[in-house]
């Protein structure tokens, strides 16, 4: 509820004529005074709730917008202000313009106009506040008890969604190391289908949407797991832990569980260690990347 009364915005102006930019600032003036709604213009993504973006996305500001977006704490909302931020506007045809904000980050509210009027912008932000509250409720419901979360075996029909999720989830790591050539990002749909023939896929589903996935197969008494994927918004909520536990239950004959991780992914390494996995071997993948294999021995279960 309080989220509604204190939306802090961060404003970024992409490639535009600055018309909308000026109108956003006009909202802060005594005439419109958005502070009466509790809205503050912060310059800091880590303090912001709403990302107000004007102007289109081009090759130069793409990274900046992504960076700001990823630095904002959840729950967050993106409001695209003006026709340029919505579709690229008159700049859409330019050789260096990618288009609207929606091309690179999910947009929740589009405010149209050229330039958008301050009244329309305030309206858009208020609409965004409503969505912010919905997102918060969703986050809380996921935190509480996981009543919505179901873990099921996936079939080939889910391949497209899982592949999309795989690329989304690995994006931030790729950005972090400026290496867009690593395997999860390059995998094609045909390859995923091939995986489906050999491996068991599990999916974590919330509200009919796949938010996490893992695949595994057994080889002797060893269960090999790979491609643990969690949607960025749903990371850190214990979904990965439940996926791993489900794999364990699916292969009751397996005595050992194995999973691989890139040596740079310290967070994931910490996570596996906490779950009782131990480093078993190290493999060189490329010049810069090593792959670490973590293994866990499972105690014999009583089957009576």
């Amino acid at each position: 509820m309080t989220l509604k009364r204190s939306p802090w915005i961060i404003h970024y102006d992409g490639s535009s004529c600055n018309g909308c930019d000026i109108e956003v600032l006009a909202c802060l003036t005594p005439v419109f005074d958005v502070e009466r709604l509790g809205i503050i213009n912060t310059g800091n993504p880590k303090h912001a709730d709403i990302f107000v973006i004007t102007g289109s996305i081009n090759e130069q500001n793409k990274d900046v917008v992504l960076n700001i977006y990823h630095q904002m704490p959840e729950p967050k909302v993106v409001v695209a202000v003006g026709i340029c931020a919505s579709s690229g506007g008159i700049f859409a045809e330019c050789y260096n313009v990618a288009g609207g904000v929606g091309k690179i980050i999910p947009v929740d509210v589009y405010v149209l106009g050229c330039a958008a009027r301050p009244e329309a912008i305030i309206d858009g932000i208020i609409k965004g506040v409503g969505i912010l509250d919905e997102k918060r409720k969703k986050l809380i419901s996921i935190h509480k008890g996981f009543e919505e979360l179901v873990i099921q075996q996936a079939d080939a029909f889910d391949a497209v969604e899982i592949l999309w999720l795989q690329k989304l989830a690995n994006q931030s790591e790729a950005e972090l190391y400026h290496d867009f050539s690593f395997a999860p990002l390059l995998q094609t749909l045909d390859q995923v289908w091939e995986d489906f023939e050999k491996q068991v896929f599990l999916k974590a589903v919330i509200d009919k949407k796949i938010v996490g996935s893992i695949r595994a197969y057994q080889e002797g008494d060893l269960c090999r797991m790979s491609r643990l994927i969690i949607h960025p918004v749903y990371q850190g909520l214990g979904i990965a832990k439940r996926l791993l536990a489900s794999v364990e239950n699916m292969f009751p004959q397996a005595r050992r569980l194995e999973i691989a991780v890139s040596h740079r992914n310290k967070r994931l390494i910490y996570f596996y260690k906490k779950l009782g996995y131990q480093l078993s071997r190290r493999e060189k993948v490329t010049e810069k990347v090593d792959r670490l294999f973590f293994e866990k021995t499972v105690a014999e279960k009583d089957h009576d």
Binding site: T2, L3, R5, S6, W8, P30, D33, E35, R36, L37, G38, I40, N41, T42, G43, N44, K46, H47, D49, Q71, P73, E74, P75, R136
Partner: protein, 286 residues
């Protein structure tokens, strides 16, 4: 027993009073700028919202320093309002600020580095005036005990006008107000991003905000001590000082750190130390 009771009242009431004062500040500032301004309890809404947000960190340990900062700020005020030793109050306050600075350094971002360095400079700037205030209270009343100082039959501001002036001067630093809001500011949302608080979000930022409420109440308590002889005059003077700070905040631009440091030292040494020398001479002649 009464000490414990007083401490409990302070612990519960100080954040409410602090939040109310912060709300009044924002409302008044808006009116001075010709705006309607946010609701009176907006600072509370802000903090409640921050408690619901995700807590992003650069390093996990940065948040522990903020926890210590909050605890020490509460401890400082607790010592003060239960009438304990003035020197201990000041040392606890300094330690609290140091933990805040450490948190800024720990976050290892250029913005919070600059903020932390500026915060250190501000500590250096206000420390002489605060220490001189403690010495002045001792010279005027013969005790460092806050409870005893509050019960002095004399109006202390009449004995310590220079000390009061130098304390008033550094009040803007402690309240993070213009012209001395160098390390982090209420208004400068785009300058050096947000100074020392740049890398804090969610619950931790809420803690900083709450610590700031406690700090405001403590600092105003210090102001009240100068007028402690009469409760009515004391309250009126404290409120007037608060309005003065808000007015100055809106009327003046931020100064550079050199000027902030030099001017607060000069004021502290001319008026503060001058006041003490005067008391010393007076004590000798009588």
């Amino acid at each position: 027993m009464t000490t414990l009771f007083l401490a409990l009242i302070y612990f519960l009431a100080a954040p409410l009073v602090g939040a109310f004062l912060a709300g009044v500040d924002r409302k008044l500032t808006s009116r001075l700028q010709g705006r309607v301004g946010p609701p009176l309890w907006q600072p509370v809404f802000d903090v409640m919202k921050l408690l619901e947000k995700e807590n992003l960190v650069v390093r996990r340990s940065q948040n522990f320093y903020i926890v210590y900062y909050l605890i020490l700020v509460i401890f400082t005020g607790g010592l003060f309002f239960t009438g304990k030793d003035m020197l201990l109050v000041i040392f606890a306050l300094t330690l609290a600020s140091i933990f805040f600075v450490l948190a800024g350094y720990k976050a290892s971002s250029p913005y919070s580095f600059i903020g932390a360095q500026r915060e250190l400079l501000q500590i250096v700037a206000y420390e002489p005036a605060v220490l001189l205030a403690a010495i002045g209270f001792y010279m005027a009343t013969g005790t460092f005990n806050v409870a005893a100082i509050a019960q002095t039959p004399r109006m202390l501001v009449l004995v310590l006008p220079g000390i009061f002036l130098s304390f008033l001067y550094i009040l803007a630093i402690k309240m993070r107000k213009s012209p001395f809001d160098l390390s982090t500011s209420h208004h400068a949302h785009q300058e050096l991003v947000k100074g020392i608080t740049t890398e804090f979000s969610g619950q931790t930022l809420a803690m900083i905000e709450i610590a700031h409420w406690y700090e405001t109440v403590f600092v105003l308590g210090m102001v009240y001590l100068f007028f402690a002889k009469s409760i009515a005059i004391g309250l009126i003077a404290t409120v007037m000082v608060y309005f003065l700070i808000i007015f100055v905040d809106n009327a003046f631009a931020r100064v550079k750190w050199e000027l902030a440091l030099a001017s607060s030292w000069i004021v502290a040494f001319i008026f503060g130390a001058g006041n003490i020398v005067w008391l010393f001479v007076l004590g000798r002649s009588s």
